[in-house]
Amino acid sequence: MNISLFSLLILAVGLYYVISRSIKFFKRENANSLVKYLTVLIVWVFISIFALFPSVPHFFSTKLGLGQNLNTFIFAGFITVFIFLFRLLSIIEKLERDITVIIRKEALKELLK
């Protein structure tokens, strides 16, 4: 098996995340839910497998009937990630505005006393 330095690097990062997140989750060091922990685990395990065995994505793409259209599949993945990102940004922005409204109300209470 021919493993490149880049694959090893990705594998190291993947292992770091899997191990550190597992320790944090089981020690209850952060407030991560089980779903969040499993999502992080699955993502990094898959990234590590793909880095170690580059032929695996092709195997999946053939089984899924995508054939040579793997790039389209990856592109769709990117689009999905961007949609999630924008959704998250919108949620954060709304939260920021809500916080400001509450803080403003509190500040103006002083005036209305």
Binding site: I99, T100, I103, R104, E110, L111, L112
Partner: protein, 224 residues
């Protein structure tokens, strides 16, 4: 007339200069001053209250835009006819308020103070460049070209305040006002103002670094 004019000053960690800023405004005859302490870590609120002005406190830092909006809402509660916004670092000269009031008397809704309208003013080159980029982006997104889109020294009539609807918390607020002028077809004009770039104010401005600039631009694009 000065009785229904409120001066709104957003202040974040301005304890060193806020009293001086308030005293200077008072010396021009403007007594109705609202200071919004935007979650300062220092004694800004205490210092402002020592000058017997209305001083309100944001318990968390929400940004210059949010602080100005709180000040404007406070002024509206107090039935202000005119609201003038000024920076809390002493950069603006309160003598310029008179020029703004003259223009409001002539029927304008919004008066924008421009640090760049007077070409003879000695302004650091990077400030000119920074402002020019801001002007171009504001024009591109909001469709109105002004010579100082990032100026905090502005005056609003009661009519303008009833129409302007602002959402942004931070520095993009300055450009958002331009959007609202355009959207509501408000009558506006720019007047040259004095900008006093002291060591103190320049040190504060450095905090508006390139990362914040990119964040401001992103936020402006997303709200376009």
């Amino acid at each position: 007339m000065k009785n229904d004019i409120y001066i709104v000053i957003p202040a974040y960690n301005e304890a060193k200069v806020i009293r001086e800023v308030i005293t200077e405004i008072k010396s021009e005859g403007f007594k109705k001053i609202i200071v919004i302490d935007d979650g300062s870590d220092d004694q800004t609120l205490k210092e402002a209250r020592a000058e017997k002005v209305i001083a309100l406190k944001h318990v968390l830092n929400r940004g210059k835009g949010a602080a100005i909006k709180t000040g404007i809402e406070a002024a509206q509660i107090l039935e202000a006819n005119i609201v003038v916004t000024m920076d809390g670092d002493g950069q603006h000269n309160p003598k310029d308020i008179f020029k703004m009031l003259e223009k409001l008397d002539q029927g304008y809704d919004v008066i924008l103070g421009s640090r760049f309208a007077d070409k003879s003013t000695n302004i650091p080159t990077f400030k000119i460049l920074e402002n020019y980029i801001g002007n171009i982006v504001t024009w591109g997104i909001y469709g109105l070209f002004v010579s100082d889109s990032q100026s905090g020294f502005r005056a609003y009539s009661k009519h303008a305040l009833s129409l302007i609807d602002l959402q942004h918390n931070r520095y993009e607020y300055d450009s958002e006002v331009i959007r609202e002028i355009s959207r509501n077809k408000l009558k506006y004009t720019e007047i040259p103002i004095e900008a006093r770039f002291t060591k103190y104010s320049m040190a504060k401005k450095k905090k508006q670094n390139i990362i914040n600039g990119i964040k401001t631009l992103t936020s402006m694009f997303m709200s376009a």
